[in-house]
Symmetry: C2
Subunit: 111 residues, 2 copies
């Protein structure tokens, strides 16, 4: 049973901050958006996403608001707080650092 990649671990928060930094979204939408944009690479389970959103909300990086869609359906929209925006910048920087570090070890296969 080959897992997609263990590398995904730990990237969730960064992905969520990035997405929500572009526009507020609700949980279900986030799952689909991540899958669409990554051409099917990211397929978050609800059991992963919702706890993650709650975690970020609890940390003050996100706030949430219920909205009623045209059909009467309830959706919980998340958007970044100021603290969240600060963290987003931080996370992006961390991602670049991580990339640089990985590249010092995982050299590309030379032809």
């Amino acid at each position: 049973m080959v897992k997609r990649s263990e590398l995904i671990k730990g990237s969730t928060d960064s992905l969520l901050l990035c997405l929500l930094g572009q526009q507020p979204m609700y949980g279900y939408q986030i799952i689909r958006e991540l899958e669409d944009r990554s051409q099917g690479y990211f397929r978050y389970k609800e059991g992963t996403l919702y706890p993650a959103l709650h975690r970020l909300e609890k940390s003050g990086l996100l706030t949430a608001q219920w909205h009623t869609a045209s059909g009467g359906r309830q959706r919980r929209y998340y958007h970044l707080t100021e603290k969240g925006r600060t963290m987003l910048v931080e996370r992006r920087s961390q991602w670049l650092d991580f990339l640089a570090a990985m590249n010092t070890i995982i050299q590309p296969v030379s032809a």
Copy 2:
């Protein structure tokens, strides 16, 4: 308490396969080598590294041999098995896939 980056999680196996694909090494050496090459970014704790090595050995990706250094000190050298080399190729490919997927979400900040 700001952690370096949660991103590191899940990259350990790939890093170890990569390193040991270049030359056999022993645990203590691996920790120093990772830190040196990454200019201090990777600072693995022994409580992380040794269980990871044992895990990979148990999976048949690594084998280990005891050697006695000049001073009489015992060192356990790990090197890749055939299965390990196959997995290394796989891991490198996964890393590139992961990179590509991340880039679809984490767009670089435009000036």
